[in-house]
Structure formats: C-alpha cells, structure tokens
Subunit: 240 residues, 2 copies
C-alpha cells in the first residue's frame, strides 16, 4: 500500500526494506481528519509528531489584528518537526486544508525510529534541511518578489514537490488551495490574488479550476517566478 511518508524519505536516502518497513510501522495508527481542522494550536504543549499521509495542511500564525500568515504548506508525506517535543509550547499552529489522513507518533517512538538506522537518520536530517530551505525561499519571495512572481514561485514549488512524491502525471496537479489560502500564504489579499491569477491565465501560463492546477507553459512560469529548485535538494533529479 502506498505510503507518502515512506516515499518522501526514500527520496532522501537509499533506504533498505527494513528501514521502509520501520517508517511504515509508525504510520499504522493513522486516522482520518476533516478539512480545516487544527491539529495543534500555538501555545499548546507539543505532544506527538504529526505525519500527513493524505491530504494537505499548513503551518500558520494568527495576528492580533485578525490576519493569518501561512508559513508552510504540508503535502502528503510531510510531517511536523521531529523534535518539537523538547519545547514547552508551540510557536505556531498546524491545520488541515483538506480532509486528510494523519498519524500521530509519540516522542519516544519517533526518537527510536530516527535512531534505528543511519540511513533513516540521514533522511530526516535531509528532510529538515529542505524544510528550512523552503522557509528561506518563502522569505525571499515575500521580501523581494512582486505578486505575480510570488504566485508563480509558489506554483513552481508545489509542482516540484508534488512531482517528488509521485503525484504528477503531466502538466496537471491537484491544487486544493483557495485564493484565500494563497493570499494568507503569500502575504497578499484575496482580491489581489484573484487579479494575479487572471493575469497568469490570460498570459497562457496556467489554468486553474476545480481544485486543480494545469501548467500550460512551464518554461514561462519558471521564468516569471525566477524559480530555482536548488533549495528543495532533490537527490533524484527527474528527466525534464
């Protein structure tokens, strides 16, 4: 049975069958979760590590004035920080964006898993460095890119990450992010996101609808975004 978590980490290290089995094992207690559900909130004591096996989620923070900033989009196979348990409280919230299937792994179990094999240890390090690289790439986007480039960059990132976990066949991918979510993620207003999407559509670069994204002109999208996938550190580069 497909396991996005195993697949993701397999992309970061040449795991053995035993390693893969160990990774799959901690996902056994996975449960279904509704969309728009807070898995954990800022201020909560972090208990378990969440592994997202199906569906999409995000990390976010609410501001006193009521706004929301999304700081990361989590896709199938992604998980919350492996060592959060050492902290007293969460400094951000994590919520599902769509209906999802989530495994909750206890701290001790997680540490045993990571220590169980050097390959697994390395895969987790790798994954964490990619997460940090992604955070940094978001900062670059927010600080130095205009709205069109910013939207285009996020689309590129999502597409490559979807590719990495085998969710891609051709130019179309699942894309369950509403314009409101995009706005919260990109530091824009929903109104402006709407106009940007129209621009990209009119330019013949992408098509969007029904929770899907179709990239009609990949080269142009990459060019608009100024996208360089180096921060995703894909060990297995795919043919273009």
């Amino acid at each position: 049975m497909a396991n996005a978590f195993v697949d993701k980490l397999s992309g970061y290290a040449a795991l053995t069958a035993d390693d893969r089995a160990a990774l799959a094992k901690v996902c056994e207690g996975a449960r279904p979760v509704a969309g728009r559900y807070d898995l954990i909130r800022e201020g909560d004591k972090p208990g378990t590590v969440f592994i997202l096996l199906e569906g999409w989620a995000c990390r976010y923070k609410l501001l006193p004035e009521g706004g929301r900033q999304i700081m990361a989009v989590l896709m199938p196979g992604d998980f919350s920080d492996t060592h959060v348990a050492v902290l007293d409280e969460m400094d951000h919230s994590i919520a599902t964006l769509t209906p999802a299937r989530v495994a909750s792994v206890q701290r001790a179990e997680m540490e045993a898993l990571i220590a169980s094999s050097m390959l697994i240890t390395n895969a987790f390090w790798w994954s964490q460095l990619v997460d940090e690289g992604t955070l940094r790439a978001w900062i670059v986007s927010m600080g130095r890119r205009g709205s069109v480039e910013r939207v285009a960059h996020l689309m590129c990132e999502i597409y490559v990450r979807a590719q990495h976990i085998g969710l891609v066949q051709g130019p179309q991918i699942e894309f369950p992010l509403t314009q409101i979510v995009l706005a919260d993620a990109l530091g824009l207003t929903p109104v402006h996101v709407n106009r940007v999407l129209r621009t990209l559509r009119m330019a013949g670069v992408v098509q969007i609808g029904r929770g899907t994204l179709t990239i009609t002109d990949p080269d142009k999208l990459v060019q608009i975004a100024g996208f360089d996938d180096n921060y995703l550190h894909r060990r297995l580069k795919l043919a273009a």
Copy 2:
C-alpha cells in the same frame, strides 16, 4: 574565557561542566574574519559547520536582478546548520557583517559532539527549533506587517537575543546593522528604512547611532511591533 557558543547552548539545557568543556573544545581553532566576508556561498559544497564566536553575520540570497534578501541575522554564539554536510550544495550564502571570530568544525567532529551527551543533543535540537521559529516569525513580518512594525519587530528580536547571550546592560545594545542591511533583511528599500527609523526616533521609541541601538520606550516598541517572544523559546526567562 567567555564563549558565546557555550553560553548560548547553556541557555537551552542544564549542561554539565564536561558538556561545556566539550563545546568549548571545538571552538579552539577559531580564526578572525574580516567584515563583509563570505564564509560560504550558494552553490558551494558545504564542508564545515561555522560557529560565530564574536561579531555578526547573516544568511542571504542574491536574486538574478541583483537584489539581496537576508533571511537570518547571526549573532555571537550562533552557528550554521549542524547537519548541512549531508547536502550536496548550499542553497544560500553566509557572510559576516562585522569583523568576527569564527570556528570551523568538521562534520565528524560535530556529530561526535552532538552525540557525546544527551543534554548537548537536546540543546542542539532546541536551538534548531528556535532557528526555525525565527524563520517563521520573519515570514509573518514580511507578509503581514507594515514597515514600521517590521523594523520594530526586528529590533525587539535582536534585543531579546542579545539579552539571551548576555550582551545587554540596560536599554542600549550593540547594533551594527546599516540601513542597507536592514533593508535587505526586511524586504524594504534603504530609503524607506531611513524614513521608518526617523519615525521611530521622533516617536521617542528608539535612538540609533554609532552602531548602537537604544530603546527608550520598550513597552511602546513591543506594542508597535506586536512582538511576542514565544518563538525564541527562552528557557530562562529573565525578570523584566
């Protein structure tokens, strides 16, 4: 002899004398480095871990169009990612902002250090979670805060971090960030940073000059910034 690296990690775990000695030992080969010097560049193969013992540095990325985005400010005691060595190449650059003293630690030595004590292991985990929280806080600033709040927020962060490593006596701290560096860090232009600083000065909140920052009205600064230090996860909260 004071060692900012030891002091910083001591703030995250109740280290033993042996632990502290082990941390100090890896800093022994530290060398002086000029200001504005690239310790490592995007695209380079990551070799050693850099530990910043004195002086300030930053992580940054250059954009094709020539702009620069700073994604993190490194202060004495800070260090580059402990496990970068697993990656093939750097996805960003690190440069000093001031003359500095830097130790370069080999991958094997670093791993041995981390594994040498559970307390040290925990301190590194903690530190890394703080770094990630800081990256997320920057994203929030860039996405949802206006320029005055953004500058104020960075000042709060720097002040609290300076406090954490014992660099603070009273309302004044060392602050070697030029307005150009601030602009690169905050996603603004130097011109606008200048106007923002004037605003804050006129409001009687801060004073700046000669590489120092004096916070004349801390409460107001915190209020303007909407600053909550929870993401810095200071284990040892100081009296106000």
